[in-house]
Symmetry: C2
């Protein structure tokens, strides 16, 4: 019996996730989720978003808390900087997705994490959003993520851990592959 | 003189943005921006991100405020729901980007906005992130954005306004087109 392996606890309930996999294999329609945010314009480039309920496991799911997010443009764009910029929210989501994945995969692989931190950087030529040059895209030219992971594992095992998180990450997929967006005006 | 048109004020300093365009046309290297977030693992799938400085206009830019964001998975994934999910952060960024764009374009077109609100919904089959079926992607199948805009403009002008915001949106571009991400482990 490997006592140290049994004691691994990153706070992720892998057994529940494995149970969910089995349950969803028998009821794949329950795997259809719909995530939601609402956004209200405040003033200038400042808006406020709320995130609360979502649909999943065949029914509407309510949270105990409603999360609120202010977004704005910074002062160098003659705005009031009342929140992170929209593109920074994408970087936040990417970092969070990869980090949660690292914790989950580490738990599954019986690797005890001590700390995980990341820097997520997105390069952009703002001539794109300003409409100055049609050959310059609006979004990021590219994104660089740097992880520092302190864990009971070899450097190779840590690299494999991060690679597996990347492979299963929703936001990594959203940013690296195209997704169709329909915009309607009521 | 069109007094009502002159009185249009959505809180966006379009003159400054036009000035920036002119200045950047003469110094395109100043248009290179680098947006940043850092992310620290807390426990389980819970992480905390910070957004503060960024690089742009040829130098490091500091903000007065540091923005912090908690992210987590919800209770139906056996997590503690201590923040919005990573994919909801992407929806927040998308809604905020399109909304700021609507305010800016409306100002430029001398359309007075009274209110703008949006619902942003992303559909996902979680068999993807659970690794149950290689043909199901990790990210969204598709995203639907519904805007309600109350403004001094015809329905056609409002539709054109939203369409122009979409055309110049950084996050719309990031989600609908592929972006390269490099992940390194220190």
């Amino acid at each position: 019996m490997n006592v140290s392996a049994m004691a691994v606890d990153n706070g992720v309930n892998v057994e529940a996730l494995m149970g969910a996999r089995e349950a969803l294999a028998n009821a794949p329609e329950a795997a259809r989720f719909r995530w939601r945010a609402t956004c209200d314009w405040m003033h200038g480039t400042h808006s406020r978003a709320t995130v609360s309920g979502f649909f999943g496991l065949g029914q509407e799911q309510q949270r105990k808390t409603e999360f609120r997010f202010d977004a704005d443009h910074p002062e160098v764009f003659a705005s009031e900087d009342r929140g992170a910029t929209p593109v920074e929210y994408v970087l936040v989501g990417l970092g969070a997705c990869l980090t949660a994945g690292i914790a989950a995969v580490a738990q599954h692989r019986k690797i005890q994490l001590r700390s995980v931190s990341a820097t997520i950087e997105g390069d952009m030529d703002i001539q794109g959003i300003l409409g100055m040059d049609g050959d310059i895209r609006n979004g990021f030219d590219g994104i660089k993520v740097k992880f520092r992971v302190d864990a009971d594992a070899s450097p190779d095992d840590i690299k494999a851990l991060v690679a597996q998180s990347q492979k299963r990450s929703a936001v990594f997929d959203i940013v690296t592959n195209p997704t169709n967006i329909t915009v309607e005006v009521a």
